[in-house]
Amino acid sequence: MLDSKIPAGKLEDKWTDYKGHCKLVNPANKRKLEVIVIGTGLAGASAAAALGEQGYQVKAFCFQDSPRRAHSIAAQGGINAAKNYQNDGDSVFRLFYDTIKGGDYRAREANVHRLAEVSVNIIDQCVAQGVPFAREYGGLLNNRSFGGVQVKRTFYAAGQTGQQLLIGAYQALERQVALGNVKMYNRHEMQDIVMIDGKARGIIARNLISGQLERFFGHAVVLASGGYGNVFYLSTNAMGSNVTAAWRAHKKGAHFANPCFTQIHPTCIPVSGDHQSKLTLMSESLRNDGRIWVPKKQNDTRKANDIPEEERDYYLERRYPAFGNLVPRDVASRAAKERCDAGYGVGTTKQAVYLDFKYNLINKYGKAEANKHGIQNPDTETLVRLGKEVVKEEYGNLFDMYEKITGENPYEVPMRIYPAVHYTMGGLWVDYDLMTSVKGMFCLGEANFSDHGANRLGASALMQGLADGYFVIPYTLGNYLADEISVKPIPTTDRAFVEAEAKVNERINRLMSIQGTQTVESFHKRLGKIMWEKCGMARNEQGLKEAIQEIRALREDFWKNVRIPGGIYEMNPELDKANRVADFLELGELMCMDALERNESCGGHFREESQTPDGEALRHDDQYMYVSAWKLNGENSWELEKEPLNYEVIKPTQRNYK
């Protein structure tokens, strides 16, 4: 039975009580304890830095050439915190409530409340590190608003918030490297976890330059390896983002929770052709100032600027007057799909809607600037010019990116956007301590399932990654390691290490020996197509059943026909990729099984069988108020364990953004 180890007591006291009573490791003992951290994105870099500062001997790993390159670097819009600097009614409770509601009541109250509590410390910490957040003229921190909430609590640095936060964490990490507390292994990819007496005690990693396998011991292993959105082939994730670390952990006994909970982000640059290798996000913050619309007429072929105001359908404002363009992501994505499926899509592919800045550029920013400069009765041209300046400061890099990719100038013509896979709420199951169902193996950041339920609110992933790394794991890991202080480092010549390495070796040799006719990429693309069509924005029983069969067949084909050029003991990016795609081919099946089992709609998981008369997601709390934790029993055979969700403070209701 899974035990979430949620502390007793009142919700708002749990974390304080935990910190007051958890076991501690004294400084002398910390120096004797070795901790492995897989991944140095926001979650991993912050964890490795904080643990290094505490005196643990940390070994940190990433597959890029530097920790500064992790996928987190690409986060654009911002990071939430319940600072209430705007005096607009925000509080820890409201951030907690918004997150639970946004997640469609499929997250744990205790974890989310802790997240809201430490959110304020994150901002303070980052400012102290020199993160250059946006500021107002008075020198105080500025905020913007994000979807699914009615307060302004998002801190940001233009459209490069992830970059600035990651650089802050990276610098803290490099400082610990210089001090000798952290040893950093770049271009190393974890391949397996080494288990000794039922506990995680080390890893096998592949040196991506030499191709050699290397063994590392740790008293505990912390995974912070990111999300698995690339199972869809096309997503907003970085090209290298993958599930391998989490999946190999799953194979060593860690339960995988809610694998089907995927976030499809409503505002991404649409696919332009078969050559497409990834999709680019246009930050949710743009919905602050952009209005989404399609023509009122089906198959309208006029240019956007030629369609008069009264012939535009601002469908989000029409359907959801209370939240308008700022409804949560899942709602906005489905609404875009609905319009395009009904024949109102725009652009050559008709799989796009407009995101238009003209109105706010003129009316919000242009007029404000004109007032500021004392310009009387400005004409539209002046307003546009003045408005542009402000918009440029807020989102300049995003507008430039859009123009580089599409060749169109979004200051002049509306952006064309369409939903794309963006984030995975599912991940390794963890308890309140962020420990997986394997003793001594922890999981942080996007790789775990913990805080976002069935849908993540914008600007909450950065918050969670840094909460986990800076403020949670330093306590909860100590609580575990306090009982391990007498364990001497285990030499990597131990049988467990030798055997684990032999297994990894055998798998790599098997991959290389296939020498078939089809490229790794072609398999990945085919898998992505199945997932997108049958386990994407809308899912149904028949499609999911077909998808499972198709994925099985594809997997078999892969292991017979894939062609990997080059050799094992050299730098070989195709081999690296094959290794990852092989895991995606297993994960895809589990995602479909999970989606099939959950015959309700909640958050980003939309089962066509379960909707309200006006097409909104319909939950079935009586049947599905649980976390689905999948345990691997044998090769591609899983058993479902359910962790019931008990709402003690919030009363779940049908989400309503109207």
Partner: protein
């Protein structure tokens, strides 16, 4: 925007590993859409090579959004290619026309040895940061984020310097392989903020010492770095570094952490 297809000749640097020498190989690709990114064109080429049983070309990339700093191709004699303020991954094929020949090489610098083909080792940058590119503050107990107001102008300037993606194009463009634009961007970012004040002198001195140790050359102010920087990091950062630290700093000795 009109789209078109093109046929191209590519001359690409192939090098097995750090120990062996390398040479240019010539490849042909056809039907390349003007809508592709430069790296998608390389994807097409690599797929073609694998199907023909040949070795694909190794290159670094990850985000493909111009922010991770991983991509690093020297295209037609210019780091990151012809577009101003643009990384290799954000360069799109409409920059080229049918029949073009494109020459692609890795970054060339003593401090950035080639690992394979177009991939180089930029770990020297991490070591420069380790030498002082941070504010020495441990986690926890930071004061309230609004306790020290920071004039917007300074915050904006710090942000502009902090936008550096650590790609190394500045080094690749410089005839002396100097890393001073990269280094000065970090020093400026931190020195412009009150939190970074205290350590600013030691930080600059220690980072410069590390830069010299890594084998980067010296700066002779030609401005080639600024011209190719995909994040438009300004050379005034170097001036700030020189002005504020070098004169004052050379007299005092370098402290270690």
């Amino acid at each position: 925007m009109e789209h078109y297809n093109m046929n191209l000749t590519l001359k690409v640097w192939k090098q097995k590993n750090a120990e062996t020498g390398g040479k240019f190989e010539t490849y042909k690709v056809s039907n390349i859409s003007s809508e592709m990114s430069f790296l998608e064109m390389f994807d097409v080429l690599n797929e073609q090579l694998i199907r023909e049983g040949k070795e694909p070309i190794a290159f670094d990339h990850d985000c493909r959004e111009g922010i991770c700093g991983m991509c690093s191709m020297y295209i037609n004699g210019r780091p990151h290619g012809p577009w101003h303020g643009t990384t290799t991954c954000q360069l799109h094929m409409r920059a080229f026309k049918d029949g073009d020949t494109i020459v692609v090489e890795p970054w060339r610098a003593k401090a950035f040895p080639v690992v394979k083909d177009l991939i180089v080792d930029r770990s020297a940058f991490d070591r420069i940061i380790q030498a002082g590119g941070y504010i020495s503050v441990n986690t926890g107990n930071a004061q309230d984020g609004n306790a020290i107001p920071i004039p917007k102008e300074n915050a904006d300037k710090a942000f502009a310097a902090a936008a550096c993606i650590g790609c190394g194009a500045c080094v690749a463009a410089c005839k002396n392989s100097s890393a001073l634009l990269f280094l000065s961007a970090k020093v400026s970012h931190l020195a412009l903020l009150p939190q970074g004040e205290a350590e600013k002198k030691d930080r600059a001195l220690n980072m410069i010492a590390q830069m010299d140790k890594e084998g980067f050359g010296s700066c002779t102010n030609t401005g080639a770095c600024e011209a190719v920087c995909p994040k438009e990091i300004e050379i005034t950062n170097i001036a700030r570094l020189n002005r504020e630290y070098l004169t004052a700093g050379l007299a005092s000795d370098t402290k270690k952490h």
